[in-house]
Symmetry: C2
Subunit: 442 residues, 2 copies
């Protein structure tokens, strides 16, 4: 925990007064990066930092503020909207810019007058994907999810023998990753009814969400050169919420033997603000597997990982149906969980991924897999909460849900809280389901 | 077959005399695109067209040749090394440029004097990846491969029930795709010996190749908008050879339940020249599933696909070991097969991929899966040829191979031949295995 510095002081306040509200996701201690333009404009997207209910426009701030020459160099890439170039910088440089931004936005800063015109209300901004995502990989670190879902797909064999040795992952689709607020069209797919002789192509009837975190890679590694655990943290940039939308009926029919494909790649939604590893530093927690479980192989083990490889991050799923919107009812919370239950750490995911020499690149995205808690009501997907669709959930307005219906809005929320630290949040990761297209003929 | 035009005339000859040799892969009727720079230089890579043993440098040719204004527009993107921008053009425009290049390079062309200085010997060029590959997907269309390998991994259940309904595919890794000639480092991975209590991290002992074709996407589709079969061909740009290097021991342990990951993503090699769909037009062939098999669902069926959805492309794997190189022995051929045996067509792969609304983008790469023929000696991988490693192959110099050894060079070759058409080829897709790094500790 030696990486704590003055930017983690829970008492620090900002001259942006909304950042001092107890409930804000974006206090001075957070300072996440995102890509935005003014809503309704055709401006080129540029990088900003969320502060309270405002965005500090780094294009304007680079010009208006007073910065050291080293800070100016870092701000230039960001001013041009190239977050990937900043992600590729060393951990020390990224930390230095965080410190500079913290001091500039802190209450009493002499930069207030110069930077105040560089603020844009978040309500007036349209967010874009924060960076170019070259490759997207999804892991499977939620052992409670893996066990519960495993039971549904393979009643006799829920948790496979490799699970406690291998941080299981698979490649996802980069092109269909969208930012929070984008609609998600219900997919068409092959559905094979139980006992049927042939599948049909139809709209998925078992559309679901999955509650995940996404880790963005900072600097990469050369092809053929693994990243040892001791260096993994240097390659971690930050974290968003991630909704791995899933069509369960398509998944069950297509996934053998090569894994999920069309059941997943129609859309993946991420929250717009990347919360940096530096901001998450106070929420690290010791990590170990139960003594009765296999201990990690040497290449997945390190003293730092055991001491503080975990992160305590509260996670929630909220739902607002079309009827609820019409009735002016607020979203209802479906579940809560915490990332501390993950069976593998972010560092282990990253090191495992590169252990065969696979080259990671700045901006690559690593999903954690669905983060379900140990209790049945802590399932990170409807598949779990509805017991495979057999027990529909009752919503406060009398509706029920086994799977998602058109018009449903799913909102993931996340925040980190700890005694002695300032609470920080991730902002919403939201998506609304729109109807499927008609089935296509040849 | 209505798309044949004067560029397919088998009698046509080029003023580049090496293009008229019977054995060349690159006669005037081929004209594939690739990205190159002068070997040993730091030049920006630019697009060229292979002709005989030469490359027509399109940067120089755009300036030196006489072209219509429409052709100039198309050549400008290529001159700047941006093949993706050209791939996104309509089928009609891509065909128009092929016709213009054909006429310019044809024997008797008035452009000969202007274009002759735009040639570079292929032997003096260093090839790069031909375009930016946003997403890479690998299919599994080789039914003989799927059956043989299925028997090894699942003796009781070789070909799963979905195989004859779903063009099975999974996402691969884009960042580790390399061009022919790149070395491939043997990966470290978790190996679980039969009967062992725990896996160990060690260099793969069962390193293998897979013989595939790769389809490059031309124009893409918007997220949420499927591509019907009737439009699939417009979205197809061209084809390369593709070696999906595979570590069988890692694959067997890791692939359940989410599919191949580290066993595949350490490297994928493609041949440098993209042979366009226009060049492959004479080699199209009727396509159907056996009458006793399920017929394609309507969304995967079209009259054009039935009439000519297949492509007859001869495929070969050659091996040259380190000892063979030391003894000055030429590579030896391990097998032959033909893409006509594939169970699904290129158009079906593409339409299936987009059928759930997944957005394809220009330059995306779709592997066909391993193309094994029906006979045992036509296996497209060593796993098949050595019967799961149980029967080593004998090489002409007395060596044997069950799987690849360090120093082995694997070369994929492909060509299309047909009565009444000029033979065209793909050029080599070669890679040499280098030793694994030491196993990493934490």
């Amino acid at each position: 925990m030696s990486q704590l510095d003055f930017t983690h002081d829970p008492a620090a306040q900002s001259w942006v007064v909304s950042a001092n509200a107890a409930a804000t996701d974006f206090p001075l201690q957070n300072l996440p990066y995102g890509l935005f333009r003014r809503a309704g404009s055709n401006e080129a997207a540029r990088v900003g930092v969320a502060i309270g209910d405002q965005i500090l426009d780094l294009q304007l701030a680079a010009a208006a503020g007073r910065w050291s020459s080293a800070e100016q160099v870092l701000l230039q890439a960001l001013a041009h909207g190239d977050l990937n170039a900043f992600m590729a910088q060393s951990q020390a440089r990224r930390r230095a810019l965080r410190q500079a931004l913290f001091l500039a936005l802190q209450a009493g800063s002499k930069q207030e007058a110069a930077l105040r015109p560089c603020l844009l209300a978040q309500a007036a901004a349209q967010m874009a994907l924060p960076c170019r995502i070259g490759d997207y990989t999804d892991f499977y670190t939620g052992i409670h999810h893996a066990t519960t879902v495993g039971k549904l797909f393979r009643p006799d064999n829920p948790l496979l023998p490799n699970y406690k040795w291998v941080p299981i992952g698979y490649h996802g689709r980069s092109s269909s990753i969208v930012v929070s607020g984008s609609t998600v069209r219900r997919p068409l797919g092959q559905l094979m009814a139980p006992g049927a002789e042939a599948p049909v192509q139809a709209a998925s009837k078992r559309l679901d969400y999955e509650l995940e975190l996404g880790l963005f890679v900072a600097g990469g590694n050369a092809l053929g050169e693994p990243i040892p655990m001791a260096e993994a943290e240097q390659h971690m940039f930050g974290v968003t919420l991630l909704n791995d939308w899933s069509a369960r009926d398509m998944q069950g029919w297509e996934y053998q033997p090569l894994g999920p494909f069309l059941a997943k790649n129609f859309a993946t939604t991420i929250s717009p603000w990347i919360v940096t590893m530096e901001a998450l530093e106070p929420f690290r927690t010791p990590f170990s597997h139960p003594p009765s479980d296999p201990q990690p192989l040497p290449y997945l083990d390190s003293p730092a990982n055991r001491a503080a490889g975990g992160y305590e991050i509260e996670l929630e799923v909220w739902l607002q149906t079309e009827a609820m919107r019409a009735q002016d009812l607020a979203p209802t919370r479906l579940m809560r969980s915490n990332f501390k239950h993950a069976y593998w750490t972010l560092a282990q995911m990253l090191t495992h991924h590169a252990s065969n020499g696979c080259n990671l690149q700045p901006g690559d995205l690593l999903g954690t897999g669905t983060q379900s808690g140990p209790a049945a009501e802590e399932g990170g997907s409807l598949l779990e909460l509805s017991n495979g669709g057999k027990q529909a959930l009752s919503l406060p307005n009398g509706e029920t849900r086994s799977f998602l219906q058109d018009g449903d809005t799913v909102i993931l929320r996340g925040y980190a809280v700890k005694e002695g630290a300032r609470r920080i949040g991730f902002g919403d990761c939201a998506g609304t389901i729109t109807p499927a297209p008609r089935a296509t003929a040849g």
